[in-house]
Amino acid sequence: MKSLKLASASAISFAAATFAGASQAEDLTLCWAAWDPANALVELSKEFEAESGHKMSFEFVPWPNFADRMLNELNSGGQLCDLLIGDSQWIGGGAENGHYVKLNDFFEAEGIEMSDFADATVYAYSTWPKGTPNYYALPAMGDANGWFYRKDWFERDDIKAAFKEATGRELAEPETQKELLEVAQFFQGREIDGQTVYGAAIFTERGSEGITMGVTGALYPWGFKYENTPGSYDMEGAVNSPEAVEALEFYKEFYETATPPGYTNSYMGESLDAFKSGQVAMAMNWFAFFPGLYADPNTGGDKIDFFVNPPQNQPGSTLGGQGISVVSYSDKQDAALEYIKWFAQPEVQQKWWDLGGYSAHNAVLESPTFKDSAPFAGDFLEAMANVQDFWQEPAYAELLLAMQKRMHDYVVADQGTAQEALDLLIEDWTEVFEDEGKL
C-alpha cells in the first residue's frame, strides 16, 4: 500500500518538477553490478558531472549478491539508489510494485525516441507489460551470453592434428552445440605446455541465477519454450518437451565431461578466473566481459577470440543486459532524469561503446564502423538478433529460485533425471502462478 502511494505521489511530483526545470547540484547515487563495464561507466559519468554540476556516487555490488541486495533495497523502499541499472527480469516487479518511475512522459517531453534503440533491448529492458509502450527504463547495456576461446591453442599445429585424429574434423569455432561439446571434451585433461587443461568453464552457480543462465544457453538452441502459447502459462509439453530434456541432458554431460574440477558453483568470476589462469580452452560468459578479456595482458589480444552461443535446432542466446531506471523512492528524481537524458544522447552512447559498455542505441549499432570496431562486435549483433530471456514476471525471483534448485539438483548434485527435473519445475512454476492468480 505504502509503496503504491509513494509511487503515485512521486510520479506527480516528478511531473511537476520536470516541467518546472529547476535544477540544483545534487549528489546522485547510481547502483549497478560490480564488473568491468561499471568502471567504464564511472569514466563516462565524469562528463556528466562536468556538464551538469551534479556529483555522481556509485554503489556496485558483485553479481552473486546483486539481485539479492538491490531487490531487498527496493522492497524496503530504500533511498540508497537514485538511479538503478537493474537486471532485465526485474522490470515486471519494478513496474508493478512501483519501484521504478514510469518514463513515458519524460521521454515525450525530452524527445527521446524508443525507436532509436534496438528493438530487442527495448522489449527486454524497458517495457512492462512486455511489448507495450509503457517504459520503465532506458536500455543501458545490451548483453547476451557468449563464448570465448584460446585462439593460440586452436591454431597450434600439434593440437589441430590431434583434434583431426580424434574427431576427423578440423579444429575451428564450433558451429553447433554438439560440436562445442566435442571440442571441449577434446581439451579436457589434455597436457598443454606441461599444464593439464580442461574443456570449458560453464555456469553452475547455485545461489543467484548462474546455473539457470548456463542451462538456458543449451535449452534455447534446442527450441525450449516457456509456454505453449505466449501469455497462457500452459507449460506442460513446452517446458518439458523432448527437446528440452535432451538439452538438459546435454548440459549435464557437458558439466560432467568437459569442465575443470571444482567448478560446481561457478559463475562469471570463476569463468574469468579459469580462462585467465590458462586452465580452460573455452569459457562461456556475458559479452560485457569481452572488452576486458580482449585487453588482458596474458590471455587477451592474439590469444583470444569469441563466438556466439552455437545453434542446435535453431539459433538462440541467453539474454543479459540491463536498462537504467529512476528509483521512485529517491528524492532526487529530477537530477536522476537529467542523467538519463544525458545518457541517451547518441554521442554519449558512442563513447559508452568505445569505453567498453554495450550501447543499445541504433546510431551506434548501425554505424558502418561498428562491426569492425572490436573482434566481438559482429558476434554481439548476431547474438542480440536471437536472444531469449527468462520470465520477467513480477514473481520472477520465485520462478528463478525454483529453476536454480531443480537444475542444480539434477546437473551438479546428480539427483533424478532430466525429465523429472523439468516435470518438478513445472509443478513449482504452476504453484507460483496459482499464487499469483494467473492460473
Binding site: K2, T29, A34, D36, N39, V42, E43, E59, V61, P62, P64, N65, R69, M70, N72, E73, N75, S76, G77, G78, L80, M268, G269, E270, L272, D273, K276, S277, G292, A295, P297
Partner: protein, 312 residues
C-alpha cells in the same frame, strides 16, 4: 600429602597432555595464519598450485582493499607517471587508482554500530541487572527467562517482521535501526552477565551507604557501579564482539549506508572473481581487534559465552 598429591598428574602425563594440546593449538591456528599470509600475497601467488608458503610479500592486497581501480589508455599512463608507492603497484596491471573503496566506510559503520549498540546495551542492561539483583520483582524468574528466550529465535525469523517494521518507520539501512536491533539482541546477554557480576557485590556496601544518607541512586551510582566496573567492561566487550561479528541481520537489513564489514568483506572482487589477497587483507584488519580483545578477556571468557551460567 603436600609433596606427593594423588591428584597431581605425573610429569610424564603432563608432558604428554601438553604435547597434544599444543599440537591441536598449532593445527587450529593454520587457517588463521593462512588468512594473514594471503593478505601479503600477490593475486597469482594466492591461487598458485601447490599453495605457496614462501613467497615475495607485497602490499597489493591492502592497496586493492582500500582503492578502486580503472583501466586507462597507454597514452594516459605514459603522460601521468605514478607518484606514490601504491600507484606503482597498481600500474603493474596498467590500471590507475580511481578513488577510495567502500571498505573504509563499511569498517566505520561496524565501529559506529558496534559501539553504539554496546553502549546502549550496557546502560540498559546495568540498570535492569541491578534491579533484578537487588529488588524483589514479581515474576523475576519468568522475566529473566523471557529476556533469554529472545535469543533462541533464528535471526532470519526475527528479520521478517523487523524488515517490515523498519520499512514503515524508515529505519531500513540506517545506523539507528541497526543499533536498536543489536541492542535488543545483546541486552539478554548484558542483563544475564551483569546480574551475575552485581550479585557478587556484597549488599552490605550499599546498605552502609544508605545508612550514611545516600539515596538509592547515589548508592547505585557511587558504590555499585565502581565495584562492577570489571564486569561491565567485560560484558561490554562481549556485546561489542557480537555486534562486530553479526552477519544475518546486516545482510538482510542494510544495503549500503549502514552496511557493516562482515557482509562486505566476502564480496570484494578483483578483475575476475574474488580478489583473495584483498579479502584476506580485509579479514585480517577486521579480525585482529577481536583477537586482541579475546586475549584481554580470557579470564571472563567462560562467563561471557555461557550467559553467566558458568562462572568459574
Amino acid at each position: 600429602m603436600s609433596s606427593f598429591s594423588v591428584t597431581d598428574p605425573s610429569p610424564r602425563s603432563k608432558w604428554f597432555a601438553g604435547t597434544l594440546v599444543i599440537l591441536y593449538a598449532l593445527i587450529t591456528m593454520v587457517p588463521l595464519a593462512w588468512i594473514m599470509l594471503t593478505g601479503f600475497k600477490s593475486p597469482s601467488d594466492a591461487i598458485s598450485y601447490p599453495p605457496k608458503v614462501v613467497f615475495e610479500p607485497t602490499l597489493e592486497g591492502y592497496v586493492n582493499l582500500f582503492t578502486t581501480r580503472t583501466r586507462q589508455t597507454d597514452e594516459y599512463l605514459q603522460a601521468n607517471p605514478p607518484k606514490t608507492w601504491y600507484e606503482e603497484i597498481v600500474r603493474e596491471y596498467d590500471m590507475v587508482i580511481a578513488g577510495p573503496s567502500k571498505f573504509g566506510e563499511r569498517f566505520l559503520n561496524s565501529v559506529i554500530i558496534g559501539f553504539g549498540s554496546t553502549f546502549l546495551s550496557i546502560v540498559l542492561g546495568t540498570l535492569a541487572a541491578y534491579a533484578f539483583s537487588r529488588f524483589k520483582i514479581p515474576l523475576a524468574d519468568d522475566l529473566l527467562f523471557f529476556i533469554l528466550s529472545t535469543r533462541m529465535m533464528p535471526p532470519i525469523a526475527v528479520a521478517i517482521p523487523i524488515f517490515l517494521m523498519y520499512r514503515q518507520l524508515g529505519l531500513s539501512d540506517t545506523h539507528l535501526g541497526m543499533i536498536l536491533l543489536y541492542t535488543a539482541v545483546n541486552i539478554s546477554l548484558a542483563v544475564w552477565l551483569l546480574k551475575g557480576f552485581i550479585d557478587e557485590i556484597p549488599r552490605e556496601y550499599e546498605e552502609a551507604a544508605l545508612i550514611d544518607g545516600y539515596t538509592r541512586f547515589q548508592a547505585f551510582y557511587k558504590v555499585v557501579l565502581p565495584q562492577a566496573a570489571t564486569g561491565i567492561a567485560s560484558t561490554a566487550i562481549f556485546c561489542l564482539i557480537f555486534a562486530w561479528n553479526e552477519y544475518a541481520f546486516a545482510v538482510l537489513l542494510t544495503s549500503g549506508t549502514a552496511q557493516t564489514a562482515p557482509p562486505f568483506i566476502p564480496t570484494i572482487i578483483g578483475v575476475g572473481g574474488l580478489d583473495w589477497p584483498a579479502v584476506a587483507a580485509g579479514a585480517t584488519i577486521f579480525l585482529l581487534p577481536v583477537m586482541i580483545f579475546t586475549i584481554l578477556l580470557r579470564k571472563h571468557l567462560l562467563r561471557g559465552i555461557t550467559f553467566g551460567a558458568v562462572r568459574k
